[in-house]
Symmetry: C2
Subunit: 405 residues, 2 copies
């Protein structure tokens, strides 16, 4: 019986891996050119890192949690932000006042597998720590949209909504929502799309029984702050006119304290959030660091591929030019290795044929490998220091000196 | 209180990450140019994949094993080879007859943390499946040594030992070792370095009580096979004269059936194996696939860095040329963004200054960032469409038109 992978997990075969590497490299280029530096955190972290610092739903219901041989409670990370905060807190004294970092992080969630969602995925995490300014907000949003553009997304079918968690705090005050009920209220607002007006009101009354339908106007008529309006204007001036204010945008993570944003691909049926992010003020303190305001966003490789698919696009992979080196007998094998080494030193992909050295079978193999050329090391030609180079597309053959390759 | 990472785990900060990426890219170049393709398997796999297919010691004593929410027994992979075999078996019908694959795989072992060993490490796994020939053996060994050379290791202080598991089978026959005792005998041979001759004999007698000290000669005088001698000769002809036959080389993994090899860095005190690998005939069948002979090897990034350190070498990282773009006031900020975008399009790293825009502080920041140049966007110069470009090494300043940047 064949052993299968764990249900809902993903293995990347070479073709998919090439596409994924191409996608990541496009993102990496955008980030590095803006001065962002790559880091890496372990995929296993202590449970303490997530307690009260992440989304309760994700940790309690969707995380792989276990106890190791030493009795330590361990989480297979469902997201990277807490690890990022921990790494900064652990070396805060040595790090510069502005931190622009990114990571491509393997993350795991025990969710029901479905189209466009796998239990393991790579999360691209981007964070800018140390500046609570609208300029930093603009930079983060610009990067998120630039990455989408760089991977080949048609930006006309991308919308982006922003909101500010500070406005939510004001709403809580106006509606006399008790502090201990704020989390519940946040979750309710996040779910509002899925509820009728009546259902929403009924649930709202479990949070504050005094509220009635006239209070819904308070929620619906929240006005954006001046800072939010300035950020929106700046981002639009950069050409990203798809950015709009949306008082109903919440985002699940409890650590957001300022601007929150979400990017959605709007063509076709895939309308899930692609990128999401926001500003957090208290995350560093929560992991034992000194306070630092930051803004960050994340996107999974799975979501990026789904967005491309919704636009009926694929990743354009640069295929290397491949050459298969075929000795005709064992006697020519050492020269074949020498030829391969010469070509590799010049940056070419040179694959060595493996016995049996039957030319016809080797030429079939060359086609299967997608080789554009083969080098045939034949005894007769070798006597004069030559090999035969055959173009696999045209079939044309020519004699070339080994030393001229 | 600061939250710490799990004991013995490693987090890579940007400087270390740049070094690690440089190291991996050097290895990737060697592998891709030889026609090897990258793949990726999930870090969590079902327990069934490891049962009887890996090193018993590693799975029983050193692996992170747990049960997920669905009751499935899961392993955080301690090595990649079983996953590689599973991936091939799962799609064997669609894959070509020769498979040259590699992966950079996050692996975990619950070991006592010590210098040059962390609980999480990246394992570079290289496999060549589908040809049981000496030529494939030579290719694998050549690649392992070429990778070491490519990362900057002085190959004069590298030794490599090879042996053949088939010779071990002959020894078992000669010494009348029962089939069910072969694993125990293998482990004993692997530990022989750490034992006195007497201790070794005593343990040998628990495997076959009939044996005495004259039988030790059988173990010590195993002659290499013709194939092994031919492989050694071919590899030495490639310039790798450090390769020697060692009848005492065993390698822990039970799945090896043919040639086994090990690369050791010999300068200084670090003499642990860097690379290790070998040929396996039964791995594909063990995971439910059709038989295919393969040869593979692995090395961890931790071991490669330790080998470099033993030679008092470090990885030469290419630092990108960085420019900090500084607007003098908020009014010039939009032009600063435009300048940054122009530079980034041309492949430069252009970092945007963030308020407060005090020139002196921003220049200090530029030095801290390692910026070689700054672009100052000043109101006066901007009137004529110019910005100031300041070289941070020489202090020299010049006026440049924005459109000429």
């Amino acid at each position: 019986m064949q052993i299968q992978p764990l249900r809902g997990t993903r293995s990347l075969y070479p073709k998919e891996m090439r596409e994924r590497n191409t996608l990541l490299n496009a993102c990496r280029t955008i980030l590095e050119r803006a001065g962002y530096e790559e880091y890496e955190a372990p995929v296993l972290e202590p449970m303490a890192l997530y307690e009260a610092k992440s989304s309760a739903e994700i940790i309690e219901r969707q995380s792989y949690v276990f106890t190791d041989r030493g009795g330590e409670k361990i989480v297979v990370r469902p997201e990277l932000t807490p690890s990022f905060a921990r790494m900064v807190a652990n070396k805060q004294g040595e790090l510069p006042p502005l931190i622009r970092w990114f990571s491509f992080a393997d993350c795991w969630r025990y969710e029901r597998p479905q189209k466009g969602r796998t239990r393991n995925f790579l999360q691209i995490n981007v964070d800018f720590l140390g500046s609570d300014t609208g300029e930093a907000d603009v930079e983060a949003i610009d990067l998120a949209l630039s990455m989408l553009q760089a991977i080949g997304i048609d930006m006309r079918n991308v919308s982006m909504r922003v909101n500010d968690r500070k406005l939510f705090d004001v709403t809580c005050q106006t509606l006399a929502i008790a502090i201990e009920k704020k989390g519940q209220f946040l979750t309710l607002l996040d779910e509002r799309d899925k509820l009728t007006q009546e259902e929403f009101l009924t649930k709202l009354q479990t949070i504050n029984p005094e509220l009635n339908c006239t209070d819904l106007a308070v929620i619906d008529n929240v006005q954006p702050s001046e800072r939010l309006l300035a950020v929106i204007a700046s981002v639009q001036k950069l050409g990203w006119t798809q950015l709009v204010y949306d008082p109903n945008l919440i985002r699940g993570f409890s650590y957001y304290t300022g601007i929150v944003f979400e990017v959605v691909e709007t063509s076709g049926s895939f309308r899930r959030a692609v990128f999401g992010g926001g500003r957090y003020d208290n995350l560093l303190e929560a992991v034992g660091g000194k306070p630092m305001s930051g803004i960050g966003f994340a996107v999974s490789d799975v979501a990026l591929f789904a967005a491309l698919e919704a636009q009926e696009k694929s990743v354009a992979v640069d295929q290397p030019v491949k050459t298969l080196i075929i000795p005709l007998t064992n006697n020519e094998a050492p020269v074949a290795i020498d030829v391969a080494r010469r070509l590799r030193t010049k940056g070419n992909t040179a694959i060595l044929a493996i016995p049996p050295y039957e030319l016809k079978k080797q030429l079939t193999m060359a086609n299967r490998l997608g080789a554009s050329e083969v080098v045939i090391v034949a005894p007769e030609e070798l006597k004069t220091g030559n090999v035969i180079v055959k173009n696999m597309t045209t079939g044309e053959q020519r004699r070339v000196r080994v030393s001229d390759l």
